[in-house]
Amino acid sequence: MKQSITLGKVTKFMGLGFLSTLKDLFTGKLDKEDFKNFLRKVFVPLASILLFIGLWHVGSKYLYNREADFKIEKALTDQGPAAAEAMRECIASGDISCQPNTLPSPSQVWDSYKSLLRDHNIISADKAAFIEKTATLNAKRIAEGKAPITYTGRPSFIDQIIMSLKTVFAGFLLALIIAVPIGVLIGLSPTLKSAFNWFVQIFKPVSPVVWYLLVFMIVKTILIDSNGDSSFIISFISVGLCSMWATLVNTAMGVSSVDKDYINVAKVLKLGPFQKVFKVILPSSLPLIFTGLKITLSVAWMVLIAIELLAQSPGLGLFVWEEFQNGANDSNSKIIVAMFVIGIIGFLLDRIMLTIQNAVSFNKNDGI
């Protein structure tokens, strides 16, 4: 008998149970008890979001006024009443040249978000036009054995998000490839465990910045002959090395703490060492391995921003840093947009991992 998969089950499985409550509301299947639940699950979060935006609005207004008052005061003491009056008018008129530079209000952030999208549309149209224009020329160049001409314009905000995701996945894969096999070996053999333990304990707490510098030293020398941009390689390796420890430790723990009953089964059935690892030990430690991978992915996303900033590798981290250095009147609100994008993507990545984790997990006492 196969169990049917419904929307409700899928959303609940992903930890998004409130979506099915929302569906029940519109299909009229909600009774009184469910309605209370609905209020708690949908209304309360919405209300707290609104409250958050309200507080933010009030706070930014206050900061804006404080900064404006200070500017006027300063003009008064430095240059006299006429200059102060001019400054007051200038600020009131909304002129860009004299706007106070402080925490942007929610509406400014929303405007910046829209302008970033517009910017993306312009850039992608430009890029498409460029590709169309160079299509015949590139075909000719490839036929002649020359490198094709590529678009070298500024990346848009969306391009940078995609670059960041690429870096984080490359780093995550690197962490997976390194940490899971080593974790399994450490978990299986107490000798290897004592050989590696000092290494894990010392390198685990090292800061992302130091990892970046270490990777930079090594990769720079290895790639000394190439003219290409090594910043992507450096940043994804740093991300991988920073974030792999959770997986390493969890895998080793999962493998070394397999239920004794399962080991006895493997012994009684006389499984060979290979079969024992792949048929008994790995499946039984999968839940813990995935817990580790989930932590690894969220750590990878968190350190990515700092590492991109240091490595000058294109992505959200670099975007934030460049906007900060830029100091344009909408830079602050673009930084806040990036902050929300980073947060939301981090949340989604976490949910994806949680879904996979739920799919591979089993209750430890299921077979007993």
Binding site: D261, K267, V268, N363, K364, D366, G367
Partner: protein, 282 residues
């Protein structure tokens, strides 16, 4: 020579001051085709004894002989049914059994192996559940899978470690009959460890009580001369059954009383008083 022989077995855990002797001076011999039950209190070292016989543990002193050869490590010749089923929760019923047959008969083709799996799953009447995982099964069904897994390797001897301990009385009765049926077909040698005297009386040819540990050792054996197949309701009126049952229970009760009187033993505490540490600071 006996089929399975235990000679002067001692088993201790720990070392030095922490050493505890769980089993001492165990002597047992089982003939081919015999069904022997060992009855004992919980915590008396029954599982240790089973693990010594199936090869998961080695005795500290003495030797375990199986068909005249000393036991070293586990073997497919001795199938084990564990107390807590020990199915692998990530495999289905069929896969759990398949894993065992694949190890036991590495030369058989996949088709033959699958036929074997189907045969043994059918034997414990779980064919409708062959694609289910252990968590979807009841306790009795899980134990039936464990029975199928152990038997599918065609062991010459079946060792059962309180196989029905965690089940309710009704399921228990049914499974007892099922195990007896399967055993009756090809009369393999069987060793049943249990804490239920009635279960031993109903199923076994011989019952041997295990005096509780530490220093657990086997008591005198009780033969059960009741013809098979046995009928549970008729058994209650069988004089032979009543006498044996009373004798075993009396024996076990006496052990229990002995243990209680031992527990009352007094320990004299050394004459100590707290150190006067106030003077230390003067």
């Amino acid at each position: 020579m006996a089929y399975l022989e235990l000679n002067n077995i001692y088993k201790t855990y720990g070392q030095g001051d922490h050493e505890t002797e769980v089993l001492s001076n165990i002597n047992l011999s089982i003939e081919e085709g015999e069904f022997v039950a060992i009855v004992g209190f919980t915590g008396s070292g029954k599982t240790t004894l089973v693990n010594l016989i199936n090869g998961l543990l080695e005795p500290t002193k003495g030797e375990v002989l199986f068909k005249g050869e000393p036991v070293s490590g586990t073997s497919h010749e001795r199938g084990v049914i564990f107390q807590n089923y020990s199915l692998l929760p990530w495999l289905t019923v069929g896969q759990n059994v398949f894993m065992a047959v694949k190890e036991a008969f590495p030369k058989k083709s996949k088709k033959e192996l699958n036929e074997l799996v189907a045969e043994y799953v059918e034997m414990v009447s779980l064919t409708p559940a062959i694609n289910k995982r252990p968590k979807e099964l009841s306790g009795g069904m899980r134990q039936r899978v464990a029975v199928a897994r152990a038997l599918s390797m065609k062991p010459e001897m079946i060792i059962m470690d309180e196989p029905l301990g965690a089940l309710d009385a009704l399921t228990r009765g049914n499974l007892q009959d099922e195990i007896l049926n399967i055993w009756g077909k090809d009369k393999r040698t069987a060793l049943l460890i249990t804490n239920d005297v009635d279960e031993g009386l109903y199923m076994a040819d011989r019952i041997i009580p295990l005096k509780p540990g530490p220093n657990a050792t086997l008591g005198p054996e009780f033969k059960i001369d009741i013809e098979r197949p046995r009928d549970k309701t008729e058994l209650n009126d069988n004089m032979n059954f009543k006498e044996t049952r009373n004798a075993i229970i009396e024996y076990l009760m006496n052990i229990g009383d002995e243990r209680k009187s031992q527990a009352r033993e007094e320990f004299v505490l050394p004459d100590l008083s707290p150190k006067d540490f106030v003077n230390q600071f003067k």
